[in-house]
C-alpha cells in the first residue's frame, strides 16, 4: 500500500476528470427514485451529497444528513454486478441462410468503466463473482471482457447500517484488496477531505494526476478511527462457526417450513444480492422468422421454473427454494468456490418485503440444531 495522501473535497471533481481523461465512464452513487443507485456520474454534484440511507428488515428510506458527506450512506438496492453481468444480454443471434444457420455472438459492451464508491463488502462480492465467472473450466468471456477494463475506487465505510454484518463475514468494513484507489471520507465542522490510498500502480498513477498532499498522522488516525467505529456498530451479527456443517446437517429442519410461511418467493433477495449469479435463457424470433435471438437474463432460485425438468419442478415448495438459496450462499458455496457466498452487505434483509433476515434464520437453526450425535 502506498503512502496515504489527502484529496480535498474541493478537488474531488478533478478525480472524476482524471478518470474521464483516461477514457473511463465513471459510475457512482446517485439519488434516484428515493434510493441511492449506481449510474453514470459526471461531476461531484451528481453524488448523494448530504444524504444517508436508513435500513431495517423490509425497510429502506433516504434521510438528509446534518453534514455534506458524499458517501454518507451504506449500500443501495443496485449492486455493481449489473454492469459486469447485465440483467439481460444477447448470447447470440442466429440467421437462416441457404438452409444453414449463422451464429453471431452478442456484442459485449466492454468500454472502460470506473466504479466510484465501491464498499469493502462489494469488493469481496466482485472477487466472488470473478471466481464464479472466470475461474471454472470455462470462463464467461462476456464478463471477463467487461471486468478487465474496470477501474475501482473503493470507499471505506465509516458508518454501518442496521442490516450490515460484514464484520461477521470478515469482508469489511475496511477495504482490503481488489481496488485501484481507496478513499476514506472525513468530515467535521472544520474540514472535509478524503484519505486516499492506492491499491495498484494504475491507482497510484491516477492519484499523481490529481491535486493531493501527504497525509498527517492525525489525518490518517481520523480516517482509521471512522472505519473502526463502523466495525463497532454493525447492525447485525451472523455466527459463522461451523456454518457449512450446521446447515447441511439440517436440511430437514422444520425451520425451513417456518420461513416458507413468510417468504413470498419474490426473488428480491437474489436480485439485490451482489454475488447471486444465476441466469436463464430465452429464445425469440423476428416476425418474418428469419432471425432468432438467444438471450440470457438474470434468474432466481426462488422461481418455480428454475428447477423445472420434464414433468415438474424439482423444488416445488417455497421451503425447498429458500433452503436452496440460503444453503448455497452459506454452505455449498464453500464446496464450489472455496468461500462463503455471503459478504454481509445486508441487502437481502433490507429489501425483503417481509423482512426475512438471513442472520436470524441461521440463528434459529443453530438454536435448535437437529444433527444427531455430533453436537
Amino acid at each position: 500500500m502506498s503512502t496515504p495522501a489527502i484529496l480535498d473535497r474541493k478537488d474531488f471533481d478533478s478525480l472524476l476528470g482524471a478518470l474521464r481523461d483516461r477514457g473511463h465512464e465513471v459510475i457512482g452513487p446517485r439519488v434516484r427514485d428515493g434510493a441511492i443507485v449506481y449510474d453514470t456520474v459526471d461531476t461531484a454534484a451528481d453524488l448523494p451529497e448530504g444524504w444517508t440511507d436508513e435500513h431495517e428488515g423490509g425497510h429502506y428510506r433516504l434521510k438528509p444528513r446534518t453534514d455534506k458527506a458524499l458517501f454518507g450512506y451504506v449500500v443501495g438496492p443496485t449492486s455493481w454486478k449489473k454492469f459486469l453481468f447485465p440483467p439481460q444480454q444477447t448470447v447470440f443471434r442466429a440467421t437462416r441462410v441457404d438452409g444453414q444457420l449463422r451464429f453471431e455472438p452478442g456484442v459485449v459492451d466492454d468500454h472502460p468503466r470506473a466504479f466510484l464508491g465501491v464498499r469493502s463488502c462489494e469488493l469481496h462480492a466482485l472477487a466472488i463473482q470473478d471466481k464464479v465467472f472466470m475461474a471454472g473450466p470455462y470462463a464467461d468471456t462476456t464478463y471477463q471482457q467487461r471486468r478487465e477494463s474496470v477501474f475501482i475506487i473503493a470507499v471505506n465505510c465509516v458508518e454501518a447500517g442496521a442490516t450490515c454484518f460484514c464484520v461477521s463475514m470478515d469482508t469489511g468494513p475496511a477495504v482490503g484488496a481488489g481496488h485501484d484507489l481507496a478513499l476514506t471520507e472525513v468530515i467535521n465542522a472544520r474540514e472535509h477531505y478524503f484519505l486516499v490510498e492506492a491499491g495498484s500502480n494504475r491507482g497510484a498513477e491516477l492519484l499523481a494526476a490529481v491535486p493531493h498532499r501527504g497525509a498527517t498522522e492525525q489525518e490518517i488516525n481520523a480516517a482509521r478511527g471512522g472505519v473502526a467505529q463502523a466495525a463497532e456498530s454493525m447492525g447485525r451479527k451472523l455466527e459463522t462457526e461451523d456454518i457449512r456443517a450446521l446447515l447441511l446437517g439440517n436440511l430437514d429442519h422444520p425451520h425451513w417450513d417456518e420461513v416458507a410461511d413468510r417468504c413470498l418467493s419474490c426473488a428480491n433477495c437474489t436480485l439485490v444480492c451482489p454475488t447471486c449469479f444465476c441466469s436463464s435463457v430465452e429464445d425469440s424470433t423476428s416476425l418474418d422468422g428469419g432471425e432468432a435471438e438467444h438471450t440470457r437474463h438474470w434468474d432466481s432460485c426462488f422461481n418455480q421454473d428454475f428447477s423445472y425438468i420434464a414433468g415438474g419442478s424439482v423444488r416445488a415448495s417455497t421451503a425447498s427454494r429458500y433452503r436452496q438459496w440460503l444453503t448455497h450462499k452459506l454452505a455449498t458455496w464453500y464446496d464450489q468456490f472455496d468461500s462463503s457466498g455471503c459478504v454481509g452487505c445486508g441487502s437481502c434483509i433490507t429489501w425483503c418485503p417481509v423482512g426475512i433476515d438471513i442472520t436470524a434464520e441461521v440463528a434459529a437453526i443453530r438454536a435448535s440444531d437437529q444433527r444427531r450425535g455430533d453436537r
Binding site: 448470447v91 447470440f92 442466429a94 437462416r96 441457404d98 438452409g99 444453414q100 444457420l101 449463422r102 451464429f103 455472438p105 464464479v132 465467472f133 471454472g136 473450466p137 470455462y138 464467461d140 468471456t141 447441511l248 436440511l251 430437514d252 449469479f277 444465476c278 441466469s279 436463464s280 435463457v281 429464445d283 425469440s284 424470433t285 422468422g289 432468432a292 438467444h294 440470457r296 434468474d299 432460485c301 428454475f306 428447477s307 423445472y308 425438468i309 420434464a310 414433468g311 424439482v314 423444488r315 416445488a316 415448495s317 421451503a319 425447498s320 436452496q324 448455497h328 455449498t332 464446496d335 464450489q336
Partner: protein, 282 residues
Amino acid sequence: MSAPASQPLDPMIPRQFRIEEAFAEVGSGEVYSWRLSPLDGEPLRFAPGQFNMLYQFGIGEVPISISGDAEAAGLVHTLRAVGGVTKAMQKLEAGEVIGVRGPFGTAWPVAEAEGQDLVLVAGGIGLAPLRPAVYCALRHRDRFNRVFLLYGTRQPEDILFREELEHWRAQLDLDVYVTVDRGGPGWHGNVGVVTKLIARGGFDPANTVAMACGPEVMMRFAVMALQKHGVAAERIYVSMERNMKCAIGYCGHCQYGPHFICKDGPVFRFDTLQPIFDVREL
C-alpha cells in the same frame, strides 16, 4: 455443400450439425433418434455418458445425452418428445440444420471395470445415455469378465433399441435381461421391476462396477438392490438430471447440493451423492 461457416470458439455459441437421419424409436416417434454430421467437417469427439446442448432455431436449447458410439463416425442423439423444445424438434426432418454445443460433463468410467464384471442398469429412456457404455464394452469385450445389461421399462411397446438388444443378446457376449412393469399378449419375457434382475445376480459383487441410469426413483431402488447384493457405493455410478441452461457451470440451474450436474456430473460415483440422495426437493 457451401464452405462451412467458421465457428467461434466461444462455448456458448453452437456449431452447425445436419440431421442426416431422423427416425422413430418408440411408437409413432414419441422417442426418436437423430444421426447428425457437422457442417464444418470436424467430428465431435465425446466419451460415453457425456451430453450436448441441442439448439433449434428460434425455439431453444435442451441438454441431451449422446446415445451413439464414441468410437464410430457420426453423432447420435435419442430424444423423448416431452417438453416444448423436444416436441418441436420431433417435427424436424433429415436435411435440416440444428445447433450443437458440447460435449459436456463427466463420463461413464467404463475402463474402471476392466478385469471385472460390468453391470449396466437402465430404466426407461435411461437406456439411451447408457448405450455408448454398451458400445464401448462390446468394442473391448475381452477386457471385461461378464457384462450385464439389465433394462426395465414400462411395457413391451416402450422397449428402446429392441433389435439391437436382441442382436447383443444373440450374437455378442452380453448378458441382456429386459423386464417390463406390465406385460401383455405376446410378451414372453420378464415382468417385474428392474431391481429383481439385480437380485438374480450372476456377477461377483466384490469385483463389479455398476452404472445406473433412469428416473431418480428407479435409480434409488437400483442402488439399494446393488448394495444389498454386495456392490459397494464406490463401485456404483449414476447419471443425474437437473434443469440446465449454460452447461458450463455458471447459470446456476443444475445445482444439486454442492454439485453442478453440468460439470461435476451428470455421471457421479454414488458415494459422493449418498449424503444428499434421499433429501427431498434438493
